[in-house]
């Protein structure tokens, strides 16, 4: 295998001009780049250090609204107690009556499917 001296001799024979130029590449590197790189790469490979609980984002909006309400002096509501009309001005204006048609006397004639057990 060639050594460095052989490589220098070859270059001098090819061009004294090129062999006389310094081997220092004139580009500069941002300070601390090499110190930071290993950790940065490990971070990319290992993935995020923290995991988010399952379903976290599903409840997130409701949880934030609960806290906002609590902060504004409203009663502290749990997410299950919070009804849509409490956070929607439009829903507040709509009647709670179900608009579907029900035949007259339906419940008077209603027969349960299951009968109570005797005895």
């Amino acid at each position: 295998m060639e050594d460095r001296n052989e490589i220098s001799v070859e270059l001098s024979a090819l061009s004294t001009l090129v062999s006389g130029i310094g081997r220092q590449t004139p580009y500069r590197v941002p300070d601390g780049y090499f110190a930071r790189l290993p950790a940065l790469l490990i971070g990319r490979i290992a993935g995020p250090a923290f995991q988010v609980p399952e379903g976290y984002f599903d409840q997130f909006a409701t949880s934030v609204l609960v806290r906002i309400k609590a902060g504004a002096g409203a009663s502290e509501l749990t997410p299950s107690e919070l009804t849509p009309s409490d956070d929607s001005p439009i829903l507040r204006t709509i009647s709670r009556k179900t608009p579907y048609y029900l035949p007259e006397g339906y419940f008077d004639e209603f027969s349960p499917v299951l009968t109570p057990a005797e005895g």
Binding site: I7, S15, I45
Partner: protein
């Protein structure tokens, strides 16, 4: 020629899940600067060199288990780095629909745009001259001139015969000399 004793130890540690990350960190620390400068001389800008270098080490992480140790680790790393550089340049060419000449002048413009560029300094003229070389010849020149890589090793990095590499390097030096003398 196989891996050095120290690289053998690093490879063993890498293959053990308990010490894998520690070994990988050690490999990065050992080779990052050499690989960075090899890449930087080809792509010129730091941001591009950083992107390519990170891609290289990601590939190393994913491929090191399959490294056969029939060459030095250093040679294998240089091979990945060189391929990533050439792929990167090819990608840039496709993105900008640039011709080969336009790519070369683009890289020369990046050299000139460097904050510390000094047209009166030979080291900067050399960087401009390097960008005039065809891509593979650029790699041959930088590996021999800056990394002082023997032809035998370069042949494994570039998968090219030693004779072809020697001819390429000799032509590169002459072209560089002509460029500098005539600017």
């Amino acid at each position: 020629m196989g891996v050095t004793i120290q690289d053998t130890e690093l490879l063993l540690q890498f293959r053990d899940p308990a010490t894998r990350e520690k070994a990988f960190t050690a490999i990065i620390r050992k080779y990052q600067e050499k690989l960075y400068w090899h890449i930087r001389r080809i792509v010129v800008e730091h941001e591009d060199a950083n992107d390519v270098l990170q891609n290289v080490f990601i590939r190393v992480w994913n491929g090191l288990d399959n490294f056969r140790e029939d060459s030095q680790l250093y040679t294998w790393l240089y091979r990945i780095a060189t391929n990533e550089c050439l792929s990167y340049l090819e990608q840039q060419k496709r993105k900008s629909s640039a011709s080969l000449d336009e790519m070369e002048s683009g890289l020369s413009n990046k050299v000139i745009a460097d904050k510390y560029f000094d047209p009166n300094k030979l080291e900067w003229k050399l960087q401009l001259a390097i960008q005039q070389l065809p891509e593979k010849q650029r790699v041959v020149f930088t590996l021999r001139y800056y990394d002082e890589m023997p032809y035998e090793e370069m042949s494994r990095v570039l998968d090219t015969s030693e004779g072809a590499l020697k001819a390429s390097y000799h032509h590169a030096v002459k072209k560089i000399e002509d460029y500098i003398l005539n600017r």
